[in-house]
Assembly symmetry: C4
Amino acid sequence: MENSLEFKAQVSLLADAGARLAARGWLPARAGHFSARLDDRHIVVSAPGRQKDMLDENDFIIVDLEGNLLSPAERTPSPETFLHIIMYRRDKDLGAVLHTHSANATVLSRQLPGGLHLSDYEVLRELPVVQYPAEGIDVPVFANDPNVQQLAAQVDDRMSRQPDLAGYLIAGHGLYTWSHTVETAIQRVEAFEFMFECEILARQLHP
Amino acid sequence: MENSLEFKAQVSLLADAGARLAARGWLPARAGHFSARLDDRHIVVSAPGRQKDMLDENDFIIVDLEGNLLSPAERTPSPETFLHIIMYRRDKDLGAVLHTHSANATVLSRQLPGGLHLSDYEVLRELPVVQYPAEGIDVPVFANDPNVQQLAAQVDDRMSRQPDLAGYLIAGHGLYTWSHTVETAIQRVEAFEFMFECEILARQLHP
Amino acid sequence: MENSLEFKAQVSLLADAGARLAARGWLPARAGHFSARLDDRHIVVSAPGRQKDMLDENDFIIVDLEGNLLSPAERTPSPETFLHIIMYRRDKDLGAVLHTHSANATVLSRQLPGGLHLSDYEVLRELPVVQYPAEGIDVPVFANDPNVQQLAAQVDDRMSRQPDLAGYLIAGHGLYTWSHTVETAIQRVEAFEFMFECEILARQLHP
Amino acid sequence: MENSLEFKAQVSLLADAGARLAARGWLPARAGHFSARLDDRHIVVSAPGRQKDMLDENDFIIVDLEGNLLSPAERTPSPETFLHIIMYRRDKDLGAVLHTHSANATVLSRQLPGGLHLSDYEVLRELPVVQYPAEGIDVPVFANDPNVQQLAAQVDDRMSRQPDLAGYLIAGHGLYTWSHTVETAIQRVEAFEFMFECEILARQLHP
């Protein structure tokens, strides 16, 4: 499967995403975690331990939607893989999940444990659930549970109650968002990060 | 007309503008909207739905100054096109309109519904209406009306009362500015964005 | 003289300086003004009206230290040229004067009309007059007089009283600094801009 | 020894580190100081006086762990060399020491003479001593003693009491951190600088 055209195409898109998003400073050190769908039952996901601005085929593993490793044999899926799998299980049209780690997202996620409301931003139109910017969306913040499977269960539970969620934050840990393709998922990262930057700036101004 | 030298030249300048302004972080996701004049009655304008740092000929449409699409047949002008057309109708020497979407402009436009006064900046000399920086200019802020034709009518009305306006903000949506050529319009974007950055910084300092 | 090796060498260094400093966002729109010495009585100085990240030989003029234009015939020295000339007259070993225009410098210069004191920064060692960071330096701020020759006279007068000045600010207009060579003048710009960024950040923090 | 493969390999890695970290704005002017181990008793260390984004073989010297210069004959080790040597003496597996000089680190180091506590950041996992982000680490701040050997003695003393230290700040002067290889030391710089940026942002927000 790691020789398939689909694998090569998705890895190439995810590597480009890494370079693009790292250039903005949103993937410090080796933070960040990317995935894309290969077929109904398989995804490709980045392995831990590499700078995200220089990813290649050797930095990815293939897992099925139960979390079993398919290839390469010598790698181990990181626990964060489950934060990706739960999303692909819910929506067969989902094509990509991107996790970035900006300073703005990190600071907001630490200061707003109850979550963040975003409204009256034109870029909200990038999120499919929003028709008019005035509507706004809620971005939940989850505590950074060192037990990632437990964290994944919490996210999954929240998705069941709020299926139109467009993204969420983990405290001190950054953003998860997703879309039908890698390209549109990148747009969502940029839209979220733009709004996070605005929210930080607004909170710095004197009244 | 999409084979004319003028079309190719203006598209090339607008694509360069997109790359230059996106590199500053002023065109997040697929935000931003650019246009340039082709002749007395026609303009080329960016179509929605593409990252503004990688525009090519396929990302533009040709419309006349009544808003009728000339080419290509399969595209649709976005409602924002009217925010461009109203400017070209007013001034036959106008050559380009650029709409950018920076975090600084977005935050100021949300916090200052009554508009912004800019003075004592040397870069004000980039704006033709200003002879001495101490004079200053007013930058109006319009509410982000989801009905763009209604919004365009408001801008048009304001231009009738204040014909020497150099640019304006839409709340939560960014900057519109214009000039005789694409090159000088880029300078105006840079001048405005520089002053917006200064205005944000000044409001963050402790007295 | 515009065919001399010295002219070509200095223009090449100033063009590189423009690209390097513009990449940091310190030369918005067409702001900034650069010069370098050609010989005892002549300097090359940037002409107004070009983005400073794409300078070439056509963007420079040659003047003598009385402000007379030597070449090319069709260009006019901008009044800012006198802010350069006064420095070369004072010190025959001076090789370059760089004027940059960052948001941080602009905001500080507008808020601190009485000038700025910088101390306890390690990068102060880049400035020849400072032996230990704890000593510190004063950076005067001059009002942005639209009569540039009058402004130049004020700077000249201040230099007579404080000959070891390493740089100064003009309100709303940015930094002037200088050194023996273009390369070391770039280092001084970077040292000053770094300290301006720190001064802005420090004034934003809550006690 | 300056012809050895190990010298060329380490210089190449340190030059890449310089370009990468300078691009983030963390090495203003000629600030910063890098070293890597050659063998049990020798290290290569950057000489002062060059922009850190354009280092080559001529910008490095070889010293032994007593501080004696081995090559090239005409250069002088800077006093900062002792801040590197003390680290290699302590840990024979240590491979690299990087000193960067960001505005965020500089401002924090000036405002927090008692040091900084970092906790609940996911990127803390980049630091080997931290198993769970909630644990946190202490980052000491040393006064910027112009007598660098005295400063090195203070650091050495602190390391004896706290051998699992992952990095420290010098007031007004920046960060020192280290690791087994140049590559992993870069990751630690990025992790520290990311947390410094977050700490600055958090202190700018209104409660």
